[in-house]
Symmetry: C2
């Protein structure tokens, strides 16, 4: 979930300054219209890693907008009055009225996370807290509120650098919280539990936005733009009483055009000899791992998505070559059958879930909803927006049962695709592989990449992460796929102990 927010997004000064002038003006306009319409309140939650620029961003927002119409609430130690009432009371009393904006700093999520990292509460209590937050936010949105949830992120390395800088600065040292961020363990736990909360509370009406905090210009512009777009969309909506707004913005903005997939180093290759050797080794390893008696407590699902002609078929063949055909199934996903169309979306995947000791390969998958169906408009915006949470729920069930889930995005660049398309047209036995549709999809290249990046950001979780495969070189791709599967299986066996 945080991968896209660790790649070092940045914006140069000139671009930034130009953008900010327009942004401020537009934000002020939106804020004024919000006040005039007075149809709904706006609540902004600020969470995330210490030192990732939460405070600075809030300060900046206050400067950019009309401070009379925006209120910053920081929920530090509860007062006596607050302690003598149910926990939610302190948030209710600070809710902004219709037409106003409040920034909630140190909100319900901060408290849960803090308590969990400190060991004051256990996983079950954290989950119960997440469920309560979800109910609270659903009610707020049903009542018309517009909710933004920002998670400011830093990689571990970025955090260390930042902490050092903060320590030297006497003016800012007070900002460090009680959590001892210098401990590597604190970071790991915070991120792990944070991801768990984000996964469970990201809903179409109130998704999380993850912001990489390392570059001040990038993070400020990202937050400002996200707010502006959400606000404008809500203001433009027809007046039909309280209504939920769907957030269609991507989870991690890439204002600098540096998405996770676009940032891949596609020049990676593997020589012929090294390939032969490594392929043989990984294939043998896989054969051993699925015959291992520890596989009895597990099963394996591998999901293959990627650009057209990225080499999914070839990679899948290398995976299955060394395994007994009775142990694996390949499920190619095309247009749904009549029977499948008469069922809820996930039905046609549930029916192929492997039993214990079985291995199922999905050649394209349930991610079709947020890729092709989203881009081609085969389903409504509401449908693909709610699909992320449904898919995370689904995969959580799989993993909790002991199924090992590996997900691959095979990425090639546009030129490589063109070469392969042409080769397919020219080779008689490959001609069936290329259709009109492939050419049409190619025209929507950027839309597909945006959708895929957003998909990875929203569904790459600790329990079922995405692996991006640099697939310009087929040999490199095939070995990386096999090795990832093997590592995942071994990792699962180790955890069993």
């Amino acid at each position: 979930m945080f991968e896209s927010a660790e790649i070092g997004h940045s914006i140069d000064k000139e671009t930034y300054e130009k953008a900010v002038i327009e942004l401020r003006e537009a934000l002020l306009d939106a804020q004024f219209e919000l006040k005039e319409q007075a149809r709904f309140p706006v609540i902004i939650l600020i969470n995330g890693i210490e030192g990732a620029g939460k405070g600075e961003t809030v300060k900046l927002l206050n400067e950019w907008m009309d401070p009379r119409l925006i209120q910053v609430e920081s929920f530090l130690k509860p007062s006596d009055e607050e302690l003598s009432r149910p926990a939610q009371w302190r948030f209710w009393r600070r809710l902004p009225p219709k037409g106003r904006i409040s920034i909630f700093f140190g909100n319900w999520y901060s408290q849960m996370l803090h308590a969990r990292v400190y060991g004051d509460i256990d996983d079950a209590t954290l989950d119960a807290g997440g469920a309560a937050a979800e109910r609270f936010e659903r009610m707020l949105c049903d009542e018309g509120a517009l909710l933004f949830k920002f998670w400011f992120h830093l990689s571990k390395k970025q955090l260390k650098t930042r902490l050092k800088a903060l320590e030297k600065d006497p003016e800012h040292r007070w900002r460090l919280s009680e959590l001892d961020w210098k401990q590597s363990e604190t970071y790991d736990q915070f991120v792990r539990y944070g991801e768990r909360l984000l996964r469970r509370t990201s809903r179409d009406y109130a998704p999380w936005y993850v912001v990489e905090g390392v570059d001040p210009r990038y993070r400020s512009l990202t937050v400002g733009r996200t707010l502006l777009e959400g606000l404008q969309a809500a203001l433009d909506m027809q007046e039909k009483g309280p209504e939920r707004l769907a957030h269609a913005a991507p989870l991690v903005a890439s204002l600098d055009n540096r998405g996770l997939i676009a940032s891949l180093d596609l020049s990676r290759t593997l020589g012929k000899d090294a390939y032969k050797q490594q392929l043989a080794r990984e294939q043998e390893r896989l054969a051993m791992l699925v015959r291992d008696k520890r596989f009895r407590r597990h099963s394996l699902i591998a999901v293959f998505e990627g650009n057209d002609a990225a080499g999914k078929g070839g990679a899948i063949r290398r995976v299955t070559e060394s395994i007994d055909p009775r142990q694996y199934h390949i499920v190619p996903i095309a247009a749904p059958t009549e029977e499948e169309r008469a069922q809820p979306y996930l039905w046609r995947f549930w029916r192929h879930i492997p039993a214990r000791r079985q291995f199922t390969i999905f050649d394209r998958s349930w991610y079709g909803r947020v890729l092709v169906e989203r881009v081609e408009g085969f389903c409504s915006e509401a449908d693909w927006l709610r699909a992320y949470a449904e898919i995370n729920d689904f995969e959580e069930q799989l993993v909790e049962f002991g199924i090992v889930v590996v997900k691959f995005w095979l990425a090639i660049d546009k030129n490589t695709q063109m070469e392969r398309f042409k080769e397919r047209e020219e080779t008689s036995f490959k001609r069936y592989k290329i259709t009109e549709e492939d050419w049409r999809n190619r025209d929507k290249w950027d839309l597909y990449i945006d959708a895929a990046t957003d998909m990875v950001d929203r569904t790459s979780t600790e329990i079922a992460p995405w692996t991006l495969i640099e697939a310009n070189d087929k040999r490199f791709a095939r070995v990386k796929v096999l090795r990832t599967i093997n590592d995942a299986l071994e990792g699962a066996y180790k955890k069993d102990k």
Copy 2:
């Protein structure tokens, strides 16, 4: 939640037979149209107390409808295949396609409840199961499914009679499940955990319907009618793709016109001397209880609702007479202020939540949404339908914090109201108490009673039960109110130990 399903609803044979002829025809018609439209599937969950007629009702539904289009699924012991996959798999594989109906017997709820009563899982796991069920059902409904959840209920006494009859009947003895229902403890636990699940999983798109199981004619007709009305409403909806249906039917049907409130014995009275004596005793008791040092861990909320002129004001005065004015607040709820209208609905009640050791009396309350706002159309159907779950969430937070919540419905009959209205008009110092609005409300007497009955059914929970007050006799009413408050406080103190 189950009170309305313990009053001995019944339908006479003649009425039943006439009704069934029409019902069957209409059900067959609806079923045919469902098949022709093939727009959505229908899933019927059957749960509840052993011996309350679950099996018989399912059998009857099968007879009434076209058996080729309805499928009964009973999820008993999972198969080997099912055990080797995540738990939800067995339900997915049995989902009906669009246009068909499935009855799920022994579904996810039965399994959770069984496990909890057996002690295989704890409260936290039951709650997590409830939350997972909620997510699953929300997804099904988002995908267009129409979901009916029936809970068949029997009082403890009714169950005992029924068990005896079953035991004597060798043909039916096999039906008794593994749970030992002869043990009084089993019943209590099943009902307690059942209520907890119902409270948390009753949502506007998939509410529970509670059916009193003692009279076969009443329960069959109730289930049949509920299905028919829901089906027809869904079939009549515009074709705009998958869409959630809101269930507006009451939680407990009263086909025999015997609602909980209508069944009250309003002739109960209290003589003048007994009144004086008992009032003094209860007032003294209350004075002691709120001065008790154990009150430091609690606070008290009393909610007063009821017919116009039912004597709320008088009852409230008798409650407060013996207490230090610094310790209580009376919050009269009228139309919301401008400030309150700019906030989510529950905001204006949250702001008056008492601190520890305080006592707040709400003269009318958050239940306005499902009473006056529902009847007068001041809010949309969707708004009042979701309010039940929101209110249950809200009160759960209060009670979990240690607040004692008592809720009164003061009931009088129509004649008594007329007498009091006239008296008010004739007595100069009472004239301010009667307005045009009171007369208008009186014209909607039946609608208000229906709304109030449904409210009690949906929000009378183990943690915050409603107390119905027979208020034709003011003396009787006032003493019962005071005694209920005192008993609730004492009960809370006892639990502290």
